[in-house]
Symmetry: C2
Subunit: 241 residues, 2 copies
DNA sequence: CGACCTCTTGAATGAACTCAACAAAAGTGG
DNA sequence: CCACTTTTGTTGAGTTCATTCAAGAGGTCG
């Protein structure tokens, strides 16, 4: 399987990592950074389908995504799978395990992905010594909360077409922040995964994508997406009702 | 308007606060608690309809709910209001403002409510000195994230009946944790607010509640709810389809 | 007591779902 | 490398559940 985002082959060190400005080091000085690096393990590589951890496993590590795409999957009390989020480089994974002290999601690689691991308790101790690191972790937690709320809103009141458009638009923006094309990218996830995440039937996702293709809003070749008409895409999302 | 939860009239001090075991002081020692209390302002009282802060206001304070019920409301880019959450005593409000540095929701009292205020930056500084406080704030952020994710799942794949049952059940559990009856309580929010929060039309909420009343699962007198058949309520939520 | 707002009820509509079948791509083994 | 299997994605037809729209009932407050 082809990787959506080329793998980052820089040496193991935040200072040389391409996406450190999206990750924990934001606001942390050079000297302090060395302390942070000391508790980060060499990035581990995962292949499509590999699990970083499973729902219910004892919580101890956080993961920082260096490259690739992953999904957080939760099985609810009746056995239904829900894809809580898709994760891109620079994001921190595992934060939802802090409170319950066990992972509340399984994290699965969708393509070849690399993640740095760090012990949460050591990180938390280090935060006491490095206020800027603490602040950044608070910011990340707040941001993740905000983004979860946002995706809740989107999945509820919107039509199928708006949900799909909003999903594509969200991915596009996230690729752009990471320095990739906002208008051309490859989906790392299946139609079924998309459908699950935005709460639609897979058939509906398929139909909507076809309609967007017919209307020349998107070009779609399997999992390759080109956004042909950014404005039209936004109009669909913004369209009242 | 009658308050859902009786107001907590204890002196201004976490050590004497009835719900401190649900709030920031968890895990914090007596001595350290004094430092925390020093930066908490005297609880302010809000009446139904009062705003604690508005969406877009500069973020600076966090609020800890001492008594009463509030809602977090967000207006999206097209002007649609979404009730992101309802808040009960012991909960921390305003955390979603840390990352964007402005409040991303308006917080409105639904009945008479009292909240302690504290400066976020002072709290964050104090967290560097008091590791147990830092850990508790991390826990609270993680918990809120988890609960937001949970409510997302519930609002998506579930039928109208399941959403309403799940909403009632969730409130019931939260009242119970706070020492109130799990089976008899008063809703502080309107049907319209409930409908908005669980993404249904108000008419649908009304119809579902009527059905639950007819089926002797609930007794409903205006905003007074009695859960008559806890098992039946859980069965509705768990029901596969 | 009347005005206003919240809540309830009914009937018709419609958007997304289910189920079923088919098509295409990716993976497997001789 | 090609046939085979498996997985993933697409298409169509009929159904269902929640919505919309409209009207009426019940509370609440001046």
């Amino acid at each position: 399987m082809q990787s959506t985002i080329p793998e980052n082959n820089s040496a193991h060190s935040c200072s040389h990592c391409a996406i450190s400005q999206l990750c924990l080091p934001v606001g942390v000085s050079q000297q302090e950074l060395a302390q942070l690096e000391a508790l980060i393990n060499q990035a581990k590589v995962y292949h499509a389908g590999d699990y970083a951890h499973r729902q219910g496993d004892e919580f101890n590590k956080l993961y920082a995504i260096k490259s690739g795409t992953l999904k957080s999957v939760r099985v609810d009390e009746f056995g239904n799978e829900h894809i809580v989020a898709f994760h891109l480089p620079g994001e921190l994974v595992g934060l939802d395990g802090i409170y319950p002290e066990k992972y509340s999601c399984s994290v699965v690689a969708l393509d070849t992905a690399a993640m740095c691991e760090m012990d949460y308790h050591k990180l938390s101790d280090l935060c006491s010594d490095i206020p800027s690191l603490q602040k950044q972790l608070f910011r990340i937690l707040s941001r993740d909360m905000y983004e979860t709320q946002w995706s809740t809103l989107n999945n509820n009141d919107l039509t199928a077409e708006q949900r799909v458009a909003s999903f594509i638009n969200n991915l596009s923006a996230r690729f752009e922040v990471r320095g990739y094309s906002a208008t051309q990218f490859q989906l790392a996830m299946s139609r079924q995964d998309i459908a699950n995440h935005i709460s639609l039937a897979p058939e509906t996702v398929s139909r909507v994508l076809k309609r967007l293709k017919n209307n020349k809003v998107l070009d779609i070749q399997n999992r390759n997406i080109s956004i042909l008409d950014v404005e039209a895409l936004n109009d669909i999302i913004q369209c009242q009702n």
